[in-house]
């Protein structure tokens, strides 16, 4: 439903996408990141860059929108000015970036969307995890393994208003429904931040001294909660779980391995998968790449932590 | 003078915290009279006129204008009622031009409601001209000398075309020539039936211009009199409440004393500053000597370069190239800044206390010790007992009127603020004291105190260099007078037998002085 004035009419970019491909060529890939300040996204960048190094002819430039939709629009436009050959974008939010992604796509630039979707159909492929499924996996773990006898659970949620926060909350509740003895007694946002998780847990553990577990929407907040409990001498009584399982030293896998967290659930970055797709599009000139790739989650507990860390390419 | 009463104030009282600034003052202003307000520093003069001009609104007592009772909500209301005020402290906007300042708050507009710059410039010219101020209306006020700013303030008040014109020490920053022009302007206003309230600590001006005078003491009316008929001694007695010593009775300079060694020797000093500094007149060939025990006066017209010379000697001038020689107590002396000057034993009382010396919110005690902290400090810590003694001594020695050492400087009257600055530099025990208009705004009694103090300091071996625009001050207090003109020392006169006319003649450049010789 475009209107007067001159809003670009979608041209058919499909065959244009195939125009510039083949072996032995050099390709410039633009990676538009929503916010480098989140460890998860920094790891995503690293994954993309590492994977791209092993593809001859690939060079990647990364831009950081610092959580600003407008800045991300400008970032993509600057990529287009530079005439990149492929766009990987991890959008800050869906709607605001839809138009500029379509613009790139319509110009024949293949677009791989990572983690958060954009609206409509104007992209080449989407790769992402399923936050509801992850939350559900966590909930099921609580219901069956962690708290089979039930108990009171504190939830430390992500940034209010963010989709992952809502979905991880929703999935979790679906998961624990199997065990009616589990009760979520409090939920406060920790804004994805470790120190916020700590101070929120301080207060919540105080208000609910009989809580037996803390479900945090990501690993840093879980670690923060652990620190708070430790200061209160509760860290042996209360169990902590997170989400993300980043294969980096400060990530959740290490925390599980070292016994601070009972479990974490992988939220894959999709960086490697994106570069693989890019290789197929640009080098192999593939026409029929999968439109949607849903990344599986994985439960990381003490049993498989070390192994998973190595498998995901974490540095020691 | 007609008998038509323009303003009647009755039972005016005002308290600031515990301080009774005014305790039931009555004041009547008639059309076509110049009414002087007299009183010591802190007597309540400024407070009274602040009430009349709508600056202070929470007071007791009644005001009526032309017979109708009024209560002003603010300065704008007073202006609308026909009261224009020149306040004691200069209050102009530095970044705006002269013309913009003059019409501020009532800008002329074109038919499109935009600013009418031409009309603004014209207004400025029209009102500045009669005051003899050749100031370009487009110049930013910040680039003007203090005296010129004072003229702009006066022009601004005049341009309001008011029924009542209040002038709170309008001449404090003016030199003789400007003062004379102002006097004739005031006379013209009187002819037109304007009621003028005139505050000044220069009694000769009062005698010259005032039709009636009200003397305030401690916030009360001590008496009303006709200055042209009363003798000066009586006025002073009314002001201070008891017979006072003569103003310039400072005791004789000890003529018998052997010639002391020079404290300061300046030999052909000249400064060429880096960059341009409009309005400044840097030293361009000054030679003079100040001996221990001597008070040397610095005379000159407005802008002759007295301030600049003192600033240079204090290391506070603009950066630039110096030539010539300066010796302090025999040793070469070229301070890199005020700090170095202070360490070398030089003190400096600047002429603009608000901008160059004081923080109005800070306590009196702390303001006094600021420059001498080094002596009151051990290992970085200020010794409370020493500080207290030092402050007490200064407050007593200068008779500073303050309710406590912790009172903010801003709660003191203008003259007492000046004494605080004075005290600060005395406390550093300088061997050379540079004074720039040190008695600006100080009342007669306190002036006499300061003069006696200066003499005592000199007798104790201090050298004093005193720049002043008040000729009687120069001839009455100093041992010798050096006259500056355009940054040069052009004459040196002995104080004995030297008159104001002699000084003016030298300052204007010989007998042909008249302004046509540029």
């Amino acid at each position: 439903a475009s209107s007067a004035c001159s809003v670009e009419k979608p041209s058919d970019g499909r065959d244009a996408a195939a125009r510039n491909c083949g072996t032995g060529k050099d390709f410039l890939i633009g990676m538009s990141q929503a916010n480098n300040a989140e460890p998860y996204r920094q790891v995503m960048n690293n994954d993309v860059q590492t994977a791209a190094k092993s593809v001859p002819g690939f060079s990647v430039v990364v831009s950081d929108a610092a959580q600003d939709n407008s800045k991300q629009v400008a970032d993509v436009e600057n990529f287009l000015t530079q005439k990149i050959d492929l766009l990987i974008i991890s959008p800050n939010e869906a709607k605001p970036l839809t138009a500029v992604v379509r613009k790139a796509y319509d110009r024949g630039v293949p677009v791989i969307v990572l983690d958060r979707k954009v609206e409509g159909e104007a992209y080449t492929a989407f790769i992402g995890g399923d936050n509801v499924a992850i939350g559900r996996a966590a909930g099921e773990f609580y219901a069956t393994t962690l708290l089979p006898d039930g108990g009171k659970v504190i939830e430390i949620a992500g940034l209010p208003g963010s989709t992952p926060a809502a979905e991880r909350a929703q999935g979790f509740r679906e998961g624990i429904a199997a065990n009616p003895k589990i009760e979520v007694v409090a939920s406060q946002p920790g804004d994805w931040l470790r120190e916020k998780g700590q101070s929120v847990a301080d207060a919540l553990l105080k208000a609910h001294p009989d809580a037996v577990a803390v479900y945090a929407h990501n690993d840093p907040m879980a670690e923060g909660a652990y620190l708070a409990a430790k200061a209160a001498g509760l860290h042996t009584k209360v169990k902590f779980t997170g989400i993300d399982a980043l294969p980096v030293p400060s990530g959740g896998i290490k925390a599980v391995e070292q016994g601070r967290l009972a479990a974490t659930f992988q939220y894959a970055t999709g960086g490697r998968e994106a570069v693989d797709l890019a290789r197929r599009i640009l080098v192999d000139c593939a026409e029929d790449v999968p439109r949607t790739t849903t990344l599986d989650t994985m439960r990381v507990t003490k049993d498989n932590a070390a192994e998973t860390y190595a498998k995901l390419g974490g540095v020691a | 003078m007609s008998d038509q009463v323009v303003v009647a104030m009755s039972g005016i009282a005002k308290r600031f915290g515990g301080v009774h600034a005014l305790r039931g003052v009555d004041l009547v202003l008639r059309a076509g009279e110049v009414h002087a307000l007299l009183g010591e520093n802190g007597a309540g003069k400024s407070t009274l006129i602040n009430i009349l001009s709508g600056v202070v609104t929470d007071h007791d007592g009644r005001i009526s204008i032309g017979g109708d009772p009024v209560r002003f909500a603010g300065p704008a209301a007073a202006q609308a009622a026909g009261i224009a005020t020149i306040h004691q402290e200069l209050d102009l906007v530095p970044a705006l031009s002269v013309a913009e300042n003059l019409v501020l708050g009532r800008e002329p507009r074109t038919r499109l409601r935009t600013l009418d710059r031409r009309a603004m410039t014209r207004t400025a010219r029209d009102w500045l001209g009669p005051l003899g101020a050749e100031i370009d209306p487009r110049r930013p006020v910040g680039s003007l000398r203090v005296g010129e700013q004072q003229l702009v303030e006066i022009a601004k008040a005049l341009s309001l075309d008011a029924r009542v014109l209040i002038m709170d020490e309008p001449t404090a920053a003016l030199a003789d020539a400007e003062v004379r022009r102002l006097m004739s302007t005031i006379r013209a206003l009187r002819e037109r039936g304007v009621a003028v309230v005139y505050i000044s600590h220069r009694l000769e001006e009062i005698e010259h211009i005032a039709d009636r005078a009200t003397v305030l003491r401690n916030g009360e009316v001590a008496g009303t009199l006709r200055p042209d008929r009363a003798d000066r001694q009586r006025i002073i007695t009314l002001m201070v409440g008891r017979p006072a010593q003569a103003l310039f009775d400072v005791g004789p300079a000890d003529a018998e004393r052997p010639a002391e060694p020079p404290v300061l020797q300046v030999d052909d000093l000249a400064v060429r500053p880096r960059g341009t500094r409009p309005g400044r007149c840097e030293p361009a060939g000054v030679s003079l000597t100040v001996r221990a025990g001597e008070i040397v006066g610095l005379a000159g017209l407005m802008g002759a370069g007295r301030t600049e010379l003192l600033e240079t000697l204090y290391g506070a001038g603009p950066p630039g190239r110096r030539s010539g020689q300066v010796r302090l107590a025999g040793r070469p002396y070229a301070p890199r800044g005020p700090r170095a000057a202070l360490r070398a034993g030089v003190g400096f009382v600047p002429e603009d206390r608000r901008h160059c010396a004081l923080v109005l919110e800070h306590p009196v005690g702390r303001s006094i010790v600021l420059a001498a902290l080094r002596r009151l400090t051990t290992a970085g810590f200020v010794r409370a007992a020493r500080e207290r003694d030092a402050v007490r001594q200064q407050v007593a020695a200068l008779a500073i009127r303050t309710s406590s050492a912790a009172a903010p400087v801003g709660s003191l009257s203008g003259g007492n603020q000046q004494k605080v600055v004075f005290a600060r530099h005395l406390l550093t025990r300088p061997r050379l004291l540079l004074l720039d208009e040190p008695t600006r705004g100080v009342d007669v009694g306190a002036k006499a105190e300061i003069y006696r103090l200066l003499r005592r300091l000199a007798d104790d071996g201090m050298g004093i260099l005193l720049a002043s625009s008040e000729l009687p001050e120069l001839t009455g207090v100093c041992d010798r007078i050096v006259v500056l003109r355009r940054g040069r020392a052009v004459a040196e006169l002995p104080a004995d037998g030297c008159t104001g006319e002699d000084i003016l003649t030298a300052a204007m450049g010989g007998a042909s002085a008249g302004g046509d010789d540029r």
Binding site: A66, A74 | V55, D91, E107, C281, L301, R486
Partner: protein, 360 residues
């Protein structure tokens, strides 16, 4: 007087009687052809000059592809102006506030609030463009006016009032939107916004983006206001010496309230544009925009102490920041290194302003 450089010739030059200022040298500020004038003229357009320098540098270091200077392509130039238009419009309002001697930290949050308002009113409440925008602009102006009143009446520093205002506006935006961005779909149905609103995303003649036009239009209007009105004189006067302004009968309270209202209004305008450009009203948007706007104002030569500065400088400052962002991105400078470079450029630009004062 001889302060303009040349040493005094002929030591006997007499003084003008009655005051030393009558000499022509004192009129350096308008004397045609004088050195002072030259320097002043040069610096008056100095932020423009800095802009030019950065522009030329950008051309020089711009990447090329097939001989084409990427930086100079019409599309890229359009993108630059569009990208700075929101910050630029905010900076125009900020200039008034800073001239007044204040600061406004709430503008970014007001932008977010207004974007949410625009989206909600059009999509959920089904208002037309004009009513929706009017309501949003009123809210912005009112919010600003309230802040102005708090500063002027209670005498609390604007830094604090607007810091609190930032939190309040952000909180309101989140509550209003439920914390989620409100997408704007176009069409005639319910839950759809009038398609005409999409004009904010369009261009004029297919070249000049509409937000850029709005920015430049508002900028020029503001220049005129600042040069030609008594209101502007009052703003300068309050910023330069509030007491003097009050004593002169300037309606200080009214002017302050008006200035903060203007800042809020323009932030709301930027919020409407923001919503239009992104097809969404997101409550978290605009975070940190206040700092960029202040940087534009200061680079443009307006002093944070109040009382001196110009609107033209602000426009130049905003464009300079836009070009800087663009050329750093075009050259694929690492995001962290970009941070370093931008920090240093801001200090350098502000330093240049100081240089000016000490030379003239």
């Amino acid at each position: 007087m001889t302060h303009l450089g040349a040493p005094e010739k002929g030591s006997g030059t007499p003084v003008p009687a009655g005051g030393g200022t009558a000499d022509g040298g004192d009129r350096w500020w308008h004397r045609p052809g004088g050195r002072g004038e030259l320097v002043e003229r040069l610096f008056a357009v100095q932020s423009l000059f800095a802009l030019l320098v950065v522009f030329v540098l950008a051309i020089a270091v711009s990447p090329r592809r097939d001989g084409e200077i990427l930086f100079l392509s019409t599309e890229n130039l359009g993108n630059i102006v569009r990208a700075v238009s929101e910050i630029g419009i905010i900076a125009v309002g900020m200039t008034f506030v800073v001239l007044l001697g204040g600061i406004d930290l709430s503008v970014g949050a007001i932008l977010g609030l207004s974007a949410v308002g625009t989206a909600t009113l059009m999509v959920d409440s089904g208002l037309g463009i004009l009513p929706a925008v009017t309501v949003v602009l009123l809210i912005g102006a009112l919010f600003g006016a309230l802040q102005g009143y708090a500063t002027a009446r209670l005498g609390i520093q604007s830094f604090i009032v607007t810091l609190a205002g930032l939190q309040v506006a952000r909180g309101l935006a989140r509550i209003w939107s439920g914390g989620l961005g409100i997408p704007i779909a176009y069409g005639d149905g319910p839950q759809e916004a009038p398609p005409a609103f999409e004009i904010l995303n369009g261009t004029i003649n297919g070249v000049v983006p509409v937000p850029a036009v709005l920015f430049l239009g508002i900028g020029v209007a503001a220049i005129v206001v600042l040069r030609k009105t008594a209101f502007a004189r009052h703003v300068y006067a309050i910023g330069g010496n509030e007491k003097a302004a009050r004593l002169s009968g300037v309606p200080v309270l009214r002017v302050k309230v008006a200035v903060f209202a203007i800042a809020g209004l323009l932030a709301a305008v930027a919020g409407v544009i923001h919503a239009g450009q992104l097809n969404q009203g997101s409550p978290n948007d605009g975070a940190g925009y206040e700092l960029d706007a202040i940087a534009a104002v200061v680079i443009g030569g307006t002093s944070l102490a109040g009382g001196t500065g110009s609107m033209g400088g602000t426009l130049a400052g905003a464009l300079l920041l836009g070009i800087l962002n663009n050329i750093l991105a075009l050259n694929n400078i690492d995001a962290n290194v970009q941070l370093l470079i931008k920090g240093l450029v801001i200090v350098a630009a502000a330093g240049l302003q100081k240089l000016r004062r000490s030379i003239v």
